[in-house]
Subunit: 415 residues, 3 copies
Amino acid sequence: MKLSFPLVAIGLEVSMIVLFGFFVKYDTEQNAVQQQYSTNATKADKFLELHPLFQDVHVMILVGFGFLMTFLKKYGFSSVGINLLIAALGLQWGTFIQGIVHNKGQTIYIGIKNIINADFSTATVLISFGAVLGKISPVQMLIMTILEIAVFAGNEYVVGEIFQASDIGASMTIHAFGAYFGLAVAGVLYQSGLRRQNEKEESVYHSDLFAMIGTLFLWIFWPSFNSAIAETTEQQYVAIVNTYFSLVACVLTAYAFSSLVGKRGRLDMVHIQNATLAGGVAVGTCADMKIHPYGAMIIGSIAGIVSVLGFKFLTPCLTDKLRIHDTCGVHNLHGLPGVIGGLASIVAIVLGASKASTMLMQAAALGSSLGTAIVGGLITGLILRFIVCVQPSMEFFFDDSAYWEVPKREEGDNE
Amino acid sequence: MKLSFPLVAIGLEVSMIVLFGFFVKYDTEQNAVQQQYSTNATKADKFLELHPLFQDVHVMILVGFGFLMTFLKKYGFSSVGINLLIAALGLQWGTFIQGIVHNKGQTIYIGIKNIINADFSTATVLISFGAVLGKISPVQMLIMTILEIAVFAGNEYVVGEIFQASDIGASMTIHAFGAYFGLAVAGVLYQSGLRRQNEKEESVYHSDLFAMIGTLFLWIFWPSFNSAIAETTEQQYVAIVNTYFSLVACVLTAYAFSSLVGKRGRLDMVHIQNATLAGGVAVGTCADMKIHPYGAMIIGSIAGIVSVLGFKFLTPCLTDKLRIHDTCGVHNLHGLPGVIGGLASIVAIVLGASKASTMLMQAAALGSSLGTAIVGGLITGLILRFIVCVQPSMEFFFDDSAYWEVPKREEGDNE
Amino acid sequence: MKLSFPLVAIGLEVSMIVLFGFFVKYDTEQNAVQQQYSTNATKADKFLELHPLFQDVHVMILVGFGFLMTFLKKYGFSSVGINLLIAALGLQWGTFIQGIVHNKGQTIYIGIKNIINADFSTATVLISFGAVLGKISPVQMLIMTILEIAVFAGNEYVVGEIFQASDIGASMTIHAFGAYFGLAVAGVLYQSGLRRQNEKEESVYHSDLFAMIGTLFLWIFWPSFNSAIAETTEQQYVAIVNTYFSLVACVLTAYAFSSLVGKRGRLDMVHIQNATLAGGVAVGTCADMKIHPYGAMIIGSIAGIVSVLGFKFLTPCLTDKLRIHDTCGVHNLHGLPGVIGGLASIVAIVLGASKASTMLMQAAALGSSLGTAIVGGLITGLILRFIVCVQPSMEFFFDDSAYWEVPKREEGDNE
């Protein structure tokens, strides 16, 4: 870490400044001939109109994802700290790379959609971060951020521009993509010691409460996430209502099944922190479709159940059988619910809830997202393992003291 | 807990889905003949216009109430977790039952007011939850949520539609109602052991800091709560300004009196967490009346004083004399300040600050809210105690381990 | 503390009520002749238009500043609690005094700008609070709030009205001013024991995580802070974009330099909590100037570096050589980046990024802010030390138990 991390970080920031110097301008500098309909004042007005929704999403990225991962007892600094670092890099790189892809290499004019999309591309990396949490170094995370967002932008372009598929809340392009990308990386970086019970991989009482800060802010603002890039205000309204009702239903089933599969009916904090959010993921793709509030509630209910069962039965199996260790269980919060989201959109289109896309294009979008994620994740994993030679050894896993000056745990502690 | 909780939760969610399937539609599906003035686009615009205020309220419900109750050292999971569960059920049931009451049984079209009102009905239950915190089971809370919101919707209809009383910030219909309903339930469920000092009923240093997260978000967003359903933007403006100045004044007097009644002038965290919010409650009913900023400050100052004195002198008395054990002291934060709010509105009307209601109707509204709450709470308490036979015994009070898998308190802990 | 604190607090609140009774009215009561263009409805609309930005700033003041200072292991109650107390007083006094200064003693009509400005004047005091944190009593803080906001309002008037300087994000008038005012007070109140390592001046693991709640909410909402009082929506848009990109760049350089100067490349939580925000401070003055996104990133990058180096090398030196003990390191987060902000605005004007002010006036504004702050701080410090005779002795420094009833640290603790 001594020199590689600061040099990589500085190198990346200098590169960003240079790229922005050449390619990125204010929206109000845009050639008025190209966009005659829109004066600078109205451009700024549009920006400010969506700004509250953007802020909600921004809280989700920094506070939501950041604190959700603080559940590990000795890895809170890294969870919330590296989350911020990834976000800061991802917001710059995502602005650039998505702008370049969508504008075919021309100047990027920063509007509200650009920075919302940058937050979205960052969310994707943060989901993958959950799969490898505690097992890779900050330098590796910086490299992974650059690689993953590039692949993400490519897939998002294919899904949106070529397939013209619907994915307003990005169940497929962000959630499923981020989860399977992260799982592929985790698979490549697997070390056999991870199969053993690791005492550091547990929570303590207050670390679980810190994680609930993340859960609640994600839960509260998820409707903004799923509606932020809707084209009309009517679609925005529908997306907010659907997400709201999917989430509330999801909470009931997640609690019920957490108790059902728990010892003596006890609830498990891991389920409550994560599975209560699966409804937001699963309703994403068809959030702006007229699936009716009760339809959203059915999707949310199923997502809550699948997510809890995934944590209980699938995650241990993934580690033992497939040698894929998923620290935060992103497969259960983002992977499976993301796939459910894609499938739900197909059902919704069959039932006539939307004419904006077709069954076939939705299936292609789901396939593309999963395929690109897995291939991209495998290649990224190989690069991180064999080219970026700073893979920490297992004794430093799940432990802030590898990268941070760590104070005492508690007053009076002699550690 | 083994089976009753999951079965009740699943049964309730299935019921909600069925009810929503029959009764609830998007606002944009509403018959255009009935509401010719309003196209789908303008309906969605109105929704989005109030959406930021709604989000503020939503943060209060989930983060505010949830974390405010985490002050108990061993009951943080339940406080923030059961808070989320109650909210998720209450938001669905509140949407339905309030819609049915106001629309006289016809189809409910989901607008922003519907989901704000659902948050309000949920707030009422969460206030009552504070009175019984740590003493009742999750199943009991689910049943209480259903019963209380039904009674709440009835009283709110009587106050708003029949008496035509003013209660914009709901000092009477939410705060006083929620507090006295909860106290009535707590009275019925009273166990004599509660009179003894219970070591689990205390806080630890960091649990008090978690609670401050709740306090601050409630404090910050209270102006949105009191103004969210105002009819005109001018009333909304007045409600925000009045609430803001009532709250700031309340903080000064709450601090002053906490020090005055404390040992050697020391501040008490319970007062700071709660009494600093009493100004938001007490100014609620007359928030949209032209009581002048200094009038709001007088109301807030009084509320801060009364609330601290209530915590210091009244709460112990309630337990000892009236056999009513109020875990969070909701009587001091919501009960007394709610009554002050009702009385303040009568004074304000006498002084000519509003012509929207009359003294008599305000008095009737206060009486109805208190009466309905107490009777409804007593009946609910009896149902919870004798019909829902899952009353936990005292050894499980104030202890997450009754319902949750609980990790170690802290690294190195051998508990 | 026994009587002085409650009496001062009550006396101040009564004074505020009286002042508000004479001077403060609703904006909708304003004489229509003076402002014919604006009906009550449009005034309220304008209020609500900026209300979401105001709420963001409000979250920064209460949650952001409050939790940022909870890093001290035994001073969390005071950090977040006294922060709330100062804010409550400052919001009232700031509304009054800024209104009086700008309106030349006439009636103050409460618009959104008034309460945003009150939050700003409060921010200034909270920055100074960081310099003296743990070393002065609540009574002293109340007096300091009154004095500092009065001086602040004077300087802000000189900078804005007389020099007509640009300082949209208030790098000079809030950040540099607040920091140097606080440092001057800290210098006057210096006690030689502060030079020794004080075990209570450290953090524990979870107190550092609480502080990150503050950091993140400050980081997320900083663009709203820097744009809230912009005159046109276009300037608002530019200010948001510039602040956003300055902050993301600042994070990368702060992490890089924290690792560079750390033992074995380790990151230091103090840097991450504070230096990652320096980009928001430094871009403040020229936030609404057309400095291009890459220009903002350069400013942010420099601020992140300077801030980390300040924490590492300058803060210890200030204590040892200048006898100025800066508890939170506000010199590194607000002082130096604030000066950078002023200098950056001069460079920006030279380069033609704005015609709203001149080099000379910007330099005068910076000089005035620094000079007023230092002189005002010295006088305030002398008043606090020699007239308000309640200076706590060093054994009570950095310890909540001087002013609070403090519960056990943790379950099972016998302390």
